[in-house]
Symmetry: C2
DNA sequence: TCCCTGCGGGAAAGGGCTTTCACTGCGGTA
DNA sequence: TACCGCAGTGAAAGCCCTTTCCCGCAGGGA
């Protein structure tokens, strides 16, 4: 590969001058020399070695992002928001997929630190895992000590800037909606229980039911991967254990789509026989049939906020922005079926619900 | 940030020794010193500066990938394949989204070259654009001259290693299927006409119709963005111009989903009144309702092949691997409706089709 | 005429790391 | 006993670039 000195030699100038021309330095260079340098660059197809540049320049510019999986629409949307702000400010993004592996997450923090990123954004859910959290915080602290900025999206036990989707309220809204539609036998298709996202959403849901004097027994919850197949499998297991279910809450839209697939396979009409409600409102939600009722999170905005926090002024106080969840009624929810195959068992529940 | 010399000083050794311990060099170091270095690393939370390493080391390891948009399921699948092979061989991937902007594509080639990637993979479709193609080829040639490896996925006018999905046959398969089902009024929802992917698929489709003695008039083709909204809009325009259509071929699944949305909005039952066929068979295709009939492309495999080509031995002859397309029959296709609102006009067509 | 200013350019000092090369002891062979 | 080879370590060169510092020179004011 041609180097800067090659260019300089060919143009008959010093490397310093060549560098100035190429980078548009503020130091003036005569047109004569400028032309010669530019010509040499073109002839040699010169491209500066990015690593050498990054090493020589002092200021750090790129921003590191750790997500679970960019191809997951949830993160794709968040990333879109991150990108938008980053591009506006001329920052490059380095995006890493942890695939929900805490160890890989830790590794990526190091890797990005090694790449001298100006800031770090953790966009995946937090984990309920003491040891991991401690290690992560150590690494983040070390990074912040050397001037790095950190922001997290979602609930992590990290004391710093954060953007928090209101998962709890979202869960609550889903639960309340179903209660108001008269559902009592509600099953939950949940993501991995180690994720704070899962437990927060579940907590909100639980609270909504509790307000109606009900509880959410463990047998009505199935944990699985946060994806389509996870949702399909969990729904099947839920139905096998409890065929009377009249509603299913899926803790994200991918799982909801899986749930819909299972219900279709079992010929259970949605929403006549059973209602389904998702979470996130990813773009595809409106295109499944029936269009999915779900809890919307402002995903793109979450990305925008997080990047703004991290690129903005460093106001010593850690800032936490809570973004609201909102129910989007579409066609997978309806009133609870008047009776299922066996209406009798219903009587044993002395609910006071509306 | 702590540097290697900081570590060395703290451990009371030379930077050379510290480096050897940290990188697990083949040169032996006594346990005594090794321990001291490791301790210093831990205490200082030392992370090597990746740029300095990359600069000092001669061998290039990362691989650059340029796609249109990773969050598009088509590219997400391809990327999965690329990743798989890359991870297996301990290579890091740098993924860039061109968002179908040729200029950005060119910029990224430079950027990746600057980052000293060992190889470059162009995963997006080629463009029908002389000027662009020439520039791209110049840049790629320059890169290859300095030992870089290049592979493209899809039809680019680039003479080198390539993985080609058989778009033409795919289009042909879609057309033949529809003909066999008795469809005559077939509309096409196409992607940007500047993409070779679009034209290749269209060519195949055209050939299938021609074999039945029909042609594909321009008024039955609508070009739009290769996404859901593009598909929805194009379908609407197609229907407005020609309400008699009994089948629609969408040139990718996202567009097909948009088409389905428009048809639902207009209460045209699929496939009873109108058939739809997609292209790519992305994962969501089986989860829309009705499940989408489509042309499958081995997306993951395409990624695997491309990465293998580029990471494998450099057999001077450029290799071109053609991967087959395959029709996947699901529920959006059915026999052509016996009659539409006005059966009469049909008579004017003197088709000899089966 | 002399000095100062300021412009245009180059020399050289890093930036943090890897790796070659040279050096010091040591055990072993002739 | 003289020498060879090698394990273990450090000094220093080099990777490619940016940027500071300095120098020469031309022009303008005194």
């Amino acid at each position: 590969m041609a180097t800067l000195s090659d260019v300089a030699r060919r143009a008959g100038v010093s490397p310093a001058t060549a560098s100035r021309v190429i980078n548009g330095s503020s130091k003036p260079v005569t047109d004569e020399l400028r032309e010669r340098v530019l010509a040499a660059v073109a002839e040699l197809q010169y491209v500066p070695n990015a690593h050498a540049q990054l090493l020589a320049r002092s200021h750090r510019s790129a921003v590191g992002v750790i997500v679970h999986d960019v191809s997951d629409p949830y993160f794709a949307e968040i990333t879109r928001g991150l990108q938008r702000v980053a591009s506006d400010r001329g920052r490059l993004l380095m995006i890493c997929n942890s695939y929900r592996d805490p160890d890989r997450e830790l590794e990526y923090v190091e890797l990005l630190r090694g790449h001298q990123v100006a800031a770090l954004i953790l966009a995946g859910s937090g984990y309920h895992d003491e040891a991991f959290t401690r290690q992560l915080n150590e690494k983040l602290a070390a990074y912040e000590t050397t001037g790095g900025r950190v922001a997290v999206i979602g609930r992590h036990e990290h004391s710093g800037d954060a953007v928090m989707p209101d998962n709890r309220t979202g869960g609550y809204l889903a639960g309340r909606e179903l209660c108001e539609l008269g559902h009592r036998a509600i099953g939950v298709v949940a993501g991995p229980r180690i994720l704070t996202t899962t437990t927060d959403r579940l907590d909100g849901l639980r609270q909504a039911l509790r307000e109606q004097g009900r509880d959410l027994p463990d047998r009505r919850i199935r944990y699985a991967e946060f994806d389509r197949d996870g949702g399909a499998g969990a729904t099947a297991r839920l139905l096998d254990a409890d065929p009377e279910l009249t509603a299913i809450v899926a803790l994200n839209d991918s799982m909801a789509i899986g749930a819909l697939a299972t219900l279709r396979a079992r010929s259970l009409p949605v929403p006549q026989r059973i209602s389904v409600i998702g979470f996130d409102d990813m773009p595809i939600a409106r295109d499944v049939t029936p269009p999915l009722t779900t809890v919307r999170l402002p995903l793109v905005d979450m990305g925008v906020r997080a990047m703004s926090l991290v690129l903005g002024a460093d106001t010593l106080s850690p800032r936490v922005e809570m973004l609201p969840a909102e129910l989007v009624r579409r066609d997978t929810t309806g009133p609870a079926a008047q009776s299922t195959t066996r209406p009798a068992p219903r009587a044993r529940r002395a609910d006071t619900a509306s």
